[in-house]
Amino acid sequence: MDFSLNEEQRAWQEKARKFAREEIAPISLKRDAIPDPRETFDWEIIKKGSKLGFRTAVVAREWGGHGIDFVTQAMVMAELAKGDSAIAKTFTQCWKWSHLIAAVCSESQKERFLKPFLADDTYVLGYGLTEPSAGSDNRLPPEEDLKAGLRLKGERRGDEWILNGDKVFIANGSVAKLFFLTVRTNPNAPLREGTTMFLVPNDTPGFRVGKVFNKSGWRFYQNAELIFSDARVPDDNRVGEIDGAFRRRGGDATGDALFGALELAANALGICDAALEEALALARTRRENGALLKDQQIVQLKLGRMQMLTEALRSLVLRAASEMDRQIPSENAGLAMNLATDVVQEVTELNLDLHDTVAPMDPLADKLLRDSIIWSHLAGDTVQRLKVARRIVG
C-alpha cells in the first residue's frame, strides 16, 4: 500500500500545477465572462499547453506521445482543472480519443490522423454521440425499446458513406479538426447492433458546424451542433466493423469508457481544490465585526466539510486510477464519477456560501459552482448512477 507518486508522476503534476497557476488561472474568469459562447475559446492557451505536452499526453510513446499512466492522468487533470475546469476538459477531450486512435484505428488511419494530431498544436479532437432526441437512450439503451437512440443515418454508396442528420452538444464541436462519430448504419437493428463509428474530419464535404451552445458553466469548452447533409465519408475512415461501434467498446474494461468516468472525477477534484483554496484564503484574511472568519465555528465546520469531501474524492480517484493502471476490474471509476457530482457541487456551494457576507455572487465562487452544475447531467444524473449501480447489483 503506497499512495506516493513516483518521480515521473510528480514531474507531470508539478508541470501541470505551474501551467495552471501561471497560464490558465489568470485568463479563466475573463474567458468565462465573455457573453458570446463562440468567443470564449482561446487558441493561445491551447497552443501553450500543447507545447508542454498536455494535448498529446496519453498518446503511446511508440507513436510519439508521452504515454502517461492513469494515475498521472488523474493528477494532471485535477491540476489543470484547478486553474480552469473547462480549459482542462478541452485538453483531456483529446486524451479520450487519442486512446481510441491508438487502440482501435488501423495503421493507415493512424498515419492519416495520429501523425497530424501529434504535429499540430491546434489539432483537437471531438466525439459525437448525443442527438436532438437521443441523449440518455444512447448511454443506457432501454431494454424495452430496441430502436431508441441515435438517428444520424449512414448509408453506404460505393467506397463512401453518406451521412444525414444532426448531432448536438458535441464536445469541441466548433474547434475540433477530427470527430469520432457514431452513426446508425442499420436502422432496423437495436442501437448496439446497428451503429458504426467513423472518423470525420472537419473539412468533410456536406458537414458544417451549427449552433455553439451557450452553457452556463464550462463556457470555454465548446459544445456545438454538427449538421450533416449528404456528407461523404470514405469507408477508409470507418473505425472497426460495420455495425460494431458498441460491440468493440464493451470489451474494454479499463480503456476509454472508464477514462471518461475518471476524467470527470479528476476534473471535479480540481474544482474542489480551487474552491477550497479560495475559501481558506478568505477565511484566513477576511474580518467580520473585527474577528477573522476562520475563528467562527460555522466557518470552521464548513471548511472542514469541504476538505473532508475533497479528500474522500481524491482518495477514491487515486484508487480508481491505480486500479486502471493495474487492469484490476472495479466499479470505482464510475463510483468516483458519481461521487464527484455530489462533492463538487456541495464544495462549491459551501464556497459561495462562505462568500455570502462579502459580496453578492463572488465571481470566482459563482463560476466554480456553475462549472460544477455541469456534472449533474454528465456524471451524476439518474442515468449515470443507474449505469454504475446496475453493474453492482448484477
Partner: protein, 411 residues
C-alpha cells in the same frame, strides 16, 4: 391591537375565529388576474434571450408599468389612501405569481408596494403623507427604495452570535443639520433594491443615533449607480453634501420598522415563485419526454424527485403564509403559539434551501438543456442561488433563530 388590513374589505370584528385555509374571494380574484398577466405577458417576455443572461438583465419597464396599472404598485397601501389595502398574505400570493414569471420585476414592484404601505400607512407624519401620496398615486412610475446597507459593513451576526454586537457596525452615512434646519447627508449605500428606479428613497443615516430620511431621487448631491450582480434592479446610492429639508425626517420608530420589512414574507414568496416555475417546467417536460421507452415521469427516480420537489414547495408555502398571517395578527401569536420561532426568518431559511434544491433538480431533469443560457432552467438555478446567498445568507438566519430560541435578546 391594530386592525389588520384585508384585501378589499375590512375584517369582520367579532367574527368567530376558526382555523380556515380558504383564500378569500378577493385573494382568489387577484391571484387569477396576476396569473393571467404572468402567463400571457410576463413569462413570454421574461423568456427572451436577454432576460436569460445571469447579470445585467434589463428590467422590463413596460411590463412593470402594466403591472402597476393593475393596482399592484399600491397593493399594501390602505384603501382609504387610494391603495388596494391588501394584507401580507395577499402580498405573498401576488409575489409568488410574479416571481414565477420574472423575479426581477416581482422584487422591484414588491419593494414599492411594501414601502408605500409601510411609509404612508405607518411611518410618515400626516404632513409627509399629504405631500407624498398625490405624487405617488399620480405617477405610475413612482417607485420606492430603502437604502440601509453600506459597502464593507458587517451586518452578519457571525462573530457576535449570542454576544453584544461589536466591531464594524456603525453607519458611515452621516447627516448633520445646517443652520436652516436642512439635513446635509454624506455617505454611500450599496445593494439598494430599486435604487435605479426609485423616485423617493428612505435612507438610513447616523445623526446622533440611527435616523431615517426621505430623500427624493432628484435631491441635489444624490447620485445612483447600477450594480449588476444582484437580483432585482439594484444599485448604489452616493450622497455628497446631499441636502433635504428638515421635514424629510421620519419618526424614531421608522428605522426598526423598515429594517424589519427586509424580512417580509413576500420576499420569500418571490423565491417560491422561482421554485414553482422550475418545478412546473420540469413536470411538463417529464410528462412528455420519453427515455427508455417510458415517459420520464414513469421512471421511479424521476417520480420520486418530482414528489420531493412538490413537497418542499408546499412546505415552504405553508411557512411563508404562516409568517405572513402572523404579521397580520401580532396578538394571535402571543396568545396561542408556544414556539419562539421567528417565523419570517424561518420561512426565509427554509424557502431558500428548498427552492435552490428544487431548481437544481428541475434543471437536472432537462439534461444538457438544463445548463443552457437560452433555456429558463439555468436562470432559475441562478436566481435561487441569489436568494440563498443574499442578506448574509442562511447561516446568519439560523444564528438569529438560534438566539431567539434561546431567548437571547440583543442589547
Amino acid at each position: 391591537m391594530r386592525s389588520p388590513p384585508r384585501f378589499g374589505r375590512e375584517r369582520e370584528i367579532g367574527a368567530r375565529q376558526v382555523f380556515d385555509l380558504h383564500l378569500s374571494e378577493e385573494q382568489l380574484a387577484i391571484r387569477e388576474t396576476v396569473r393571467d398577466f404572468v402567463t400571457e405577458k410576463l413569462k413570454p417576455a421574461a423568456l427572451r434571450p436577454e432576460r436569460l443572461e445571469p447579470f445585467e438583465r434589463p428590467l422590463l419597464m413596460d411590463l412593470l408599468d402594466e403591472a402597476s396599472a393593475l393596482g399592484l404598485r399600491s397593493l399594501l397601501l390602505p384603501e382609504e389612501m387610494g391603495g388596494a389595502g391588501a394584507d401580507a398574505l395577499t402580498a405573498c400570493i401576488v409575489a409568488e405569481e410574479l416571481g414565477a414569471g420574472d423575479p426581477d420585476l416581482a422584487a422591484a414592484l414588491g419593494e414599492t408596494w411594501l414601502l408605500c404601505g409601510l411609509l404612508a400607512g405607518k411611518l410618515m407624519t400626516e404632513a409627509q403623507r399629504d405631500r407624498f401620496l398625490p405624487r405617488f398615486l399620480e405617477d405610475p412610475r413612482y417607485h420606492l427604495a430603502f437604502a440601509d446597507h453600506e459597502p464593507e459593513s458587517d451586518t452578519a451576526l457571525g462573530a457576535d452570535y449570542h454576544r453584544p454586537a461589536a466591531g464594524n457596525r456603525a453607519l458611515k452615512t452621516r447627516a448633520v443639520r445646517a443652520g436652516n434646519g436642512e439635513w446635509i447627508v454624506n455617505g454611500e449605500k450599496d445593494r439598494v433594491l430599486n435604487a435605479p428606479i426609485a423616485k423617493l428613497l428612505a435612507v438610513e443615516v447616523e445623526a446622533e443615533g440611527v435616523k431615517t430620511l426621505l430623500i427624493p431621487r432628484d435631491a441635489p448631491g444624490l447620485r445612483v449607480s447600477e450594480s449588476g450582480r444582484e437580483l432585482g434592479c439594484c444599485g448604489s446610492v452616493h450622497l455628497s453634501d446631499c441636502r433635504v429639508p428638515a421635514d424629510a425626517l421620519l419618526g424614531d420608530a421608522a428605522a426598526a420598522a423598515l429594517k424589519a420589512s427586509r424580512e417580509a414574507p413576500q420576499v420569500q414568496a418571490v423565491n417560491l415563485g422561482i421554485g414553482r416555475a422550475a418545478y412546473e417546467a420540469a413536470l411538463d417536460y417529464v410528462k412528455l419526454r420519453v427515455q427508455g421507452a417510458r415517459r420520464l415521469v414513469e421512471h421511479q427516480a424521476i417520480g420520486t424527485k418530482l414528489a420531493e420537489m412538490a413537497i418542499r414547495l408546499e412546505a415552504a408555502r405553508g411557512l411563508i403564509w404562516q409568517a405572513a398571517w402572523a404579521l397580520d395578527h401580532p396578538d394571535a401569536r402571543a396568545e396561542q403559539r408556544q414556539s419562539d420561532l421567528p417565523l419570517a426568518t424561518a420561512a426565509r431559511a427554509f424557502t431558500a434551501e428548498a427552492v435552490y434544491r428544487v431548481a437544481k433538480e428541475a434543471a437536472e431533469c432537462f439534461g444538457a438543456m438544463g445548463v443552457m443560457r437560452d433555456m429558463p432552467l439555468q436562470r432559475h438555478v441562478h436566481d435561487a442561488l441569489q436568494f440563498l446567498h443574499s442578506r448574509n445568507g442562511n447561516s446568519d438566519a439560523k444564528l438569529r433563530i438560534g438566539e431567539a430560541l434561546a431567548g437571547y435578546r440583543r442589547p
